[in-house]
Symmetry: C2
Subunit: 466 residues, 2 copies
């Protein structure tokens, strides 16, 4: 810990100097896709950093300087450097490192339960642990995404009860929600302004100075932790609702004989429009979960956020729609899903990221398999690996050869230059393509003789223009 001073009463300017001089000690709890880059960045900025995780192999990997997030450019080099320099050390044992830290950063997952309610079990457990071991003068910073009010009404009481100390008087408490996008974490950490709200303005300014000095980003100071958490949820829900709106347009325009991708591109020429694209649904750790954190808080005060709720339903239903399109495309070549060989290209939840958490393509694969399809999956991020319970092949060719249907699931960079004519030559006679990620040109697919269906593309060729 900072010698002779607590993180509660240093000045913002002192934070920067102390950080550079290696006088600040930080523990990051939770070394996942956000926690690990965060820990590495603090170490890189000069802090003595401990990382706590419950997973033994995660801890071991880090301490050997290895990076398990191969899809995060920039992380590997930084990680190797700070581990080698002894600035970052990972551990399974929270107690000794928590008690000597000036700042405790909570970066554990906050997923949703199958009942579509927030699962705060990890943040709860960690709060108990932190409360038990932290010393007076420490500042706790919550980076995990939580509903507004959760820091004030769930985390603060646990910390106070476990520690016997009081917020503000004895320890600081702040929210600094991560605003990063998997696949771009290192870039986002140093370019997206950080939003900080705290239990009092002094703590807020100290935490702001710590993040400014570490990441070189602007810090937006807001009036409370609940406001900071509302910011995080509002910006993510904006995306979820707008993707749902794009999906709603897609479903309608399919029936009206209009190409939604053509429409969205044309709309994008207007200054007050922001494009969002339809697809197979919404996956990953954030968008499909975040709305339920806000919905839960809303229900507590008797409010029903209609649009937010409806958007979830629409996005959750998209995998089923892709299955329908697949059945329809196969039907056009007089085949059933049962017994058809389907080459699936891409299984991760979004392009260029090695993550299948709540991936809509996984839902689609499960359903197609249930219906009797023979799946041949390829994803360049999982070559010859298992992903979400499926075997992934190690080449496009193996997935596509002799297939009855090619399903474009994820628009990975590596799929962008695939030659559709070549795929046609590999696939079986009378074959279909389904495009869930607007990766291929419908006209070209049809010219090549594929039975074609794509999300938001006219479903019937019989629609008269005039």
């Amino acid at each position: 810990m900072i010698s002779g001073k607590s993180s509660l009463c240093i000045s913002a300017e002192e934070v920067k100097t102390l950080l550079r001089e290696g006088e600040i000690c930080i523990t990051v709890v939770g070394l996942g896709r956000i926690g690990l880059p965060t820990a590495a960045s603090f170490a890189n900025a000069g802090a003595k950093v401990y990382g706590v995780d419950i997973n033994e192999s995660v801890v071991g990997t880090i301490n050997s300087g290895e990076n398990r997030f191969v899809d995060e450019p920039g992380l590997e080099d930084m990680l190797r450097k700070v581990v080698k320099e002894g600035k970052l050390h990972a551990t399974l044992r929270a107690e000794p490192v928590i008690s000597k830290s000036d700042f405790l950063i909570l970066s554990v997952p906050t997923p949703v339960l199958p009942s579509k309610t927030p699962d705060y079990s990890a943040i709860r457990t960690v709060s108990h642990q932190v409360g038990e071991y932290m010393k007076s003068g420490t500042t706790v910073i919550v980076e995990s995404t939580v509903g507004p009010g959760t820091v004030e009404n769930l985390i603060a009481p646990i910390l106070e009860a476990e520690s016997g100390m009081k917020v503000d008087a004895d320890f600081g408490l702040a929210s600094a929600p991560e605003r990063s996008d998997p696949g771009n974490i290192m870039k986002n950490l140093t370019s997206v302004p950080r939003v900080v709200g705290a239990s009092n303005s002094r703590t807020r300014d100290i935490v702001a100075a710590l993040y400014e000095a570490t990441f070189g980003v602007e810090v937006v100071k807001v009036s409370s932790p609940r406001t900071a958490n509302a910011v995080k949820l509002t910006e993510n829900l904006f995306r979820d609702v707008n993707i749902a709106l794009a999906n709603e347009f897609a479903l309608l325009y399919e029936k009206l004989g209009i190409d939604v991708i053509e429409v969205i591109k044309a709309c994008s020429t207007k200054y007050n429009f922001m494009p969002h694209y339809p697809g197979a649904g919404v996956g990953g750790p954030c968008l499909p979960a975040n709305p339920y954190y806000l919905i839960e808080e809303a229900l507590k005060v008797g409010d029903i956020p209609y649009l937010i709720r409806m958007a979830r339903e629409i996005n959750d239903r998209m995998p089923e729609h892709i299955v329908e399109l697949t059945m329809e495309a196969l039907n056009e070549v007089a085949k059933t899903v049962r017994g058809s060989k389907i080459g699936v290209l891409g299984i991760s939840y979004k392009p260029n990221v090695k993550d299948v958490q709540l991936s809509p393509i996984v839902s689609i694969c499960s359903r197609l398999q249930e219906m009797g399809a023979i799946l041949k999956i390829y994803d360049p991020l999982f070559p010859a690996e298992r992903a979400a319970g499926f075997d992934v092949l190690d080449s496009v060719e193996k997935a596509v050869s002799n297939s009855d249907c090619i399903l474009f699931g994820v628009a990975h960079e590596k799929f962008k230059h695939l030659d559709l004519g070549y795929l046609r030559s590999l696939s079986g006679n009378r074959s279909a393509v389904v495009d869930a990620c607007h990766l291929i040109d419908p006209q070209e697919a049809m010219k090549l003789g594929f039975a074609y269906r794509g999300v938001g593309r006219p479903r019937s060729r019989n629609l008269e223009v005039f």
Copy 2:
């Protein structure tokens, strides 16, 4: 008409030359807020332009070179110039001018009926008239906002039946929906790309050339009129849905003790967020009407656009919410709406535009008056005039003096520098303010002793932060 050639078979390059040389004759049907600037612009670019309207005073005003849209910068000078040069002539009689025009531009209103279904009566009437009088070789361009398919399935059949001619063979048909924003029409016309879809690609290219040459804007060519109309609706519905989402957040955050304006501003620091603000609702000729054009087409194919529909409900309910906030604020100073003097600042449907079409503030005023309030309305765009059946005063002072409540309705530029302390000195003892357009600082209002309520601002001061 162009001597010796029809607008169907000239080249795109020829269009530009002929336009400059004054060889092209255009009739614009409907001389409203869009039609008039459009007619003036074509005349200014070199065309011989006729404007047709059913309103005698509109026609008279134009022919005397007068501009009735005082809130459209740039229109007055252009209008005076083209009328003086004899390039633009307005008339009540459609027949003689339609029969000698190369291009017929339909720019009539397409509002909604009280039943929330599109009112296509004007576009229908005008289509009959144009079909009856137009000569072979003419191109009809629909600028009015209509549902996708309306040009193909409603307008085209009327034109063919009335004229005895065939689309493509005898006359051209295109959609080039206006994408302008009242108050900025002249600027938008020359900066926002124009979207053009037509019955065939030749007509599309000719119409594109005409708009490029006239407005100097990029033209986005799309595959059909239905696609062009889908573009127009999609971009406006994006706005309506996102304003509804902002209102949904506002209503929730009021209850959760979070300031939605603070949240939206902080969210705006993220690269993939676009700010929309909550308010008293959504008015004007476009946003509250456009969704119903798409909803009607959706219902025809058995589709329910949930988000689009829900967004309308939310936005339509906002005036009622402002009335609730007004009751609540007055209640705080122990007053009822009945008998209270309420100074309303702003009555138009949006800032800086002299238009009360479907203005949510009008709904609010009607409801407050029904409840027995004594309204004192001021709007700098309607000084000492009548607006939507209400008398508008000619100064802020007259509206605010001795009031029990000041209601900020519209964030007109002129209201941005009002001194709240001065307004406090004018208003009565124990007075309230309600801010429907996030114009004033809540803290300042409360410090001055006002009972304060604002859309999306914490409703109760009793919410404990910790």
